[in-house]
């Protein structure tokens, strides 16, 4: 609270939620309350997430990962383009991928930090610990590091043998925030997961927590104040997850089912309200129906001509979470083989 605050300023102090769970492209971690995702990449193989602290955002968590199992892409020569096809044709195994040298990668990161320090005329100093093995089954080889220069950073770089990811995560803040950085870093590293166990990736940001099969890829997103939408695709199958704020204002004008039908991804007379089930103490109103031919054609077009998992059915539903004053909806365009998809997603969702 700033100096000179009035009684009304002090009154507005709100109770803080327990903690912030962040999930993006298969990585998940927990941070102190009110931290928010401020930057991310859509690429799953070489990804990036940045989460800022509340208030002035002086502290931030940066996570970068690369898929070490993928070959480093060279120039698009005929050899690079044709070699995988010939390998498959001749049933030859792919060439072994050399393991990433963690120390070398870390030195590169610290070199960049040193450059920044030089620009701001600060003295740069860094410390690297020796490589150690960690994880439940000893699947991680990691190196911890700290640096001071244009600020202060505490982080860790590791390679996970299970998911073949090389992850660099660090907490960056001002030089004076030494203790706070340490506390956040310990919470970050204690809760960090770089791969899923049950085949479902957690997508968690801005009060939304949903799990989607790892085989689906994020293809589109909308991040607006009051509306958050994530769209995932696998072949022509599609999952749309929405989170809308200010539910009490919306529900003064519309009934929940009316509102969902006007905002759903498909407007079809074939959509039938199937059931109303209890979900986490809320009423989940679901709709189902056969996709019209135009919907199927649109699905193939969106999948760039892919006929894999051609959706023939639509399942969707909506619920109102009074605790967080939000509306959540899940819509799935699926084939007959994946009838249970919406139920599986729903049972992994968390709204409050």
């Amino acid at each position: 609270m700033q100096k000179g605050a009035t009684a009304s300023d002090r009154e507005a102090q709100t109770a803080l939620p327990a903690r912030t769970v962040v999930g993006w492209q298969g990585v998940r971690f927990t941070l102190p309350p009110e931290w928010n995702v401020t930057a991310f990449s859509l690429d799953r193989d070489n990804g990036y997430v940045r989460v800022d602290s509340p208030g002035s955002g002086a502290m931030s968590v940066q996570v970068r990962w690369t898929d070490a199992s993928k070959e480093v892409k060279g120039p698009p020569t005929p050899y690079y383009l044709l070699a995988p096809y010939f390998r498959r044709l001749l049933k030859r195994p792919p060439p072994p991928v050399t393991k990433t040298d963690l120390r070398q990668s870390l030195e590169k990161i610290l070199k960049d930090a040193a450059k920044d320090a030089k620009k701001s005329h600060a003295v740069f100093d860094s410390q690297m610990k020796s490589e150690k093995t960690e994880g439940e089954n000893g699947e991680r080889s990691s190196i911890s590091f700290t640096w001071t220069g244009a600020g202060r950073g505490q982080g860790k770089i590791w390679r996970c043998d299970t998911c073949n990811r090389v992850v660099v995560s660090q907490v960056i803040g001002l030089s004076k925030d030494h203790n706070a950085i340490g506390n956040v870093a310990s919470q970050l590293f204690a809760t960090f997961q770089d791969h899923t166990i049950d085949g479902y990736d957690l997508w968690a940001l801005y009060d939304l927590q949903a799990a989607v099969p790892s085989t689906f890829r994020l293809t589109a997103h909308k991040l607006m104040s009051g509306h958050l939408q994530l769209v995932f695709m696998r072949g022509a199958e599609r999952i749309i997850i929405d989170r809308w704020g200010l539910a009490n204002v919306t529900l003064k004008k519309f009934k929940l089912d009316e509102w969902f039908l006007t905002n759903s991804a498909i407007k079809s007379a074939n959509m039938v309200r199937t059931s109303t089930t209890a979900f986490g103490g809320h009423e989940f109103i679901s709709f189902e129906g056969a996709l019209p031919v135009s919907g199927r054609m649109a699905a193939v077009r969106d999948a760039k001509g892919s006929m894999r998992g051609l959706p023939t059915r639509y399942s969707g539903g909506v619920w109102h979470c009074a605790e967080t004053n939000k509306l959540f909806s899940i819509q799935v365009f699926h084939s007959r083989k994946t009838e249970k998809l919406i139920e599986n997603i729903l049972e992994r969702c968390k709204c409050h």
């Binding site: 700033q2 000179g4 605050a5 009035t6 009304s8 300023d9 507005a12 102090q13 709100t14 009110e34 928010n36 509340p54 002035s56 801005y206 009060d207 104040s225 009051g226 704020g245 200010l246 009490n248 204002v249 003064k252 605790e323 967080t324 004053n325 939000k326």
Partner: protein
Amino acid sequence: MPLNPAVKLKAQVFASRYMPFLKIRPPEMDRSGALTLRPGRNALLTWETKEEGKTMLTVPLDMNKGGKLTRLLAKWMRAPSERYVELDEVGGFVWELCDGNHTVETIVQKTGKEYKMNRREAEVSVTMFLQMLHEKNYIGFYKKVRKS
């Protein structure tokens, strides 16, 4: 001898406002500074709250604007002397708090608490809304200055 920062700031504000030929930009305000400002309503505006939670602002129009012919035409055609702006429930809530006593920070916190919004979401939407009201001259921003 280094100049006192407060004096330097005042000189910068004065030069940017009254000496445009010097091409000195007005000092930029950082985020934390902007959150301490207190929005206050334009005294010329009146408003009423409706039953559905909406707020109706009545904005008087300047009838002396334009040339003689424009004024004559406006009088002849009975052009309205005021304009009505309807704010939704959340807008009305923020409008009520724009009384010059609440800081932007407080309004953000109160709106977030009332509508159970994430802090960042509340801050983005409230500041955008206040900025829009300011651009239309419906509100002004005050800064509380301590007497030395």
